[in-house]
């Protein structure tokens, strides 16, 4: 987790939940190597590409449930509980059972992504099941690096409409992902 201590994770998520997009990017970026480390240490044999899919699924879950963190409590127990729940789920859907103790997580070594990153991830498959407009919004922000304003210009929608569509799209994404698991 680099130099980011617990205090800064709390600060980042707190600011993020108040609408600070940069803090939120910082928070998700800071937890990702940890998620990757957990996925790889439990999923040795699944391959790094599958582990990266699991990381993305877990990030999506953290995103959907970020309102359930209480600001007066530390982030890590909350985060680990989500990770455990989601990673067990993700492995189960791939025919693997993992046993996971939250206490182990503290010793997990953070991992950096491979250079030859997945060209087409699981998440891309799920995104392609969204309606065209939502998929376009999700991709242009992620892949093309567009801002909400850029997308609004490109698609001729108001910024509010883009925000609503993005939010609904991501919510749908986790629903679709659920169905793929079942």
């Amino acid at each position: 987790m680099g130099t980011a201590g617990d205090a800064s994770l709390e600060e980042l998520l707190k600011a993020a939940n108040r609408g600070d997009q940069r803090a939120y990017t910082g928070f998700l970026t800071a937890v990702t190597p940890l998620l990757r480390g957990i996925a790889r240490s439990r999923g040795s044999g699944l391959g790094n590409e599958v582990c990266e899919d699991i990381v993305q699924e877990t990030l999506l879950a953290i995103h959907q449930k970020r309102h359930t963190w209480r600001e007066d409590l530390p982030v890590r127990p909350w985060l680990y509980a989500i990770v455990r729940y989601k990673v067990v789920d993700a492995f189960r859907s791939r025919g693997r059972r993992v046993h996971m103790q939250i206490d182990d997580f503290a010793e997990t070594i953070a991992a950096e992504p491979d250079d030859d990153l997945t060209v087409r991830s699981d998440m891309d498959r799920v995104i392609s099941q969204l309606d065209d407009r939502s998929a376009k919004i999700v991709r242009s922000i992620g892949i093309d690096g567009d801002s909400i304003a850029d997308v609004s210009g490109k698609l001729g929608m108001t910024e509010t409409a883009v925000r609503v569509a993005l939010h609904r799209g991501l919510k749908k994404l986790s629903g679709l992902r659920e169905r793929m698991i079942e």
Binding site: A16, N17, G19, Q21, Y24, T25, L28, T29, T32, R36, E52, V55, Q56, L59, L60, A61, H63, Q64, K65, R66, H67, T68, W69, R70, L73, P77, W78, L79, Y80, A81, I82, R84, Y85, P113, L117, T118, S121, M123, D124, I127, V138, R139, I141, G142, I143, G145, S147, I148, R163, V164, L166, H167, L170, S174, E178
Partner: protein, 211 residues
């Protein structure tokens, strides 16, 4: 899409769901009052409520479901958050069966054994056993709907406590109508009614509170 790109997409979404605790309180109070109010408007509050409630047994019958509902609510709220344990509200909840057992023990000393069975059956056992789950159903439905926005990492357990809470609220309302006041009666039938809702809640939680 690689992970870094995916993070960009996630962080562009600034809309966040509502906190579950407040919505759950509102859901419970509103659905409880509407369901209970409707039931009592149709079937009536027992006429002697003012004098009956001064008797300790009746007071216990009226009060314990509120304790179950309130403690259940606090526990459900906690269980809807990842990483939180049930917490200290489990204690007032455990005090409920202790109080009921004490009241039953006292009653058994006062009533001769051949009357125990009849006392336990009262005159409305089946009405009680069916009405509490029926009243709890709409309450639980509304609360589960709210709880889907939570993130219970033990969905069955969270569902069970949601059932317990709804059953408690239903019993609290039903008690205003019911004139079977023996601790043996409500110790069996109220508890069984709430228990049915709790079990149903566990099953429903496993199915509907997954995320």
């Amino acid at each position: 899409m690689n992970t870094e790109q995916f993070i960009q997409t996630l962080s562009a979404d600034s809309q966040m769901e509502q906190r579950v605790d407040r919505s759950l309180v509102i859901a419970l109070v509103v659905s409880g009052l509407i369901t209970g109010g409707l039931f009592l408007a149709l079937f009536g509050i027992r006429p002697d409520i003012g004098t009956a409630i001064t008797r300790p047994d009746v007071l216990l019958k009226q009060v314990f479901p509120w304790v179950v509902a309130l403690a259940g609510l606090r526990i459900v709220v906690r269980l809807s958050r990842p990483g939180a344990k049930a917490g200290a509200w489990i204690w007032p909840l455990l005090a409920v069966p202790v109080a009921i057992l004490l009241a039953i023990g006292q009653e058994m000393m006062l009533i001769s054994p051949e009357l125990w069975a009849r006392t336990a059956m009262g005159h409305s056992a089946m009405i009680c056993l069916s009405t509490i789950p029926l009243l709890a159903l709409p309450i639980a439905a509304v609360c589960f709907w709210v709880l889907r926005d939570g993130a219970a990492t033990r969905p069955a357990l969270c569902g069970a406590f949601a059932g317990l809470m709804s059953g408690g609220a239903a019993a609290a309302m039903y008690a205003f109508f019911c004139t079977d006041d023996s601790p043996m009666f409500f110790g069996i039938w109220y508890v069984a009614g709430i228990g049915i809702v709790t079990l149903a809640g566990a099953v429903a939680g496993k199915k509907f509170l997954k995320w």
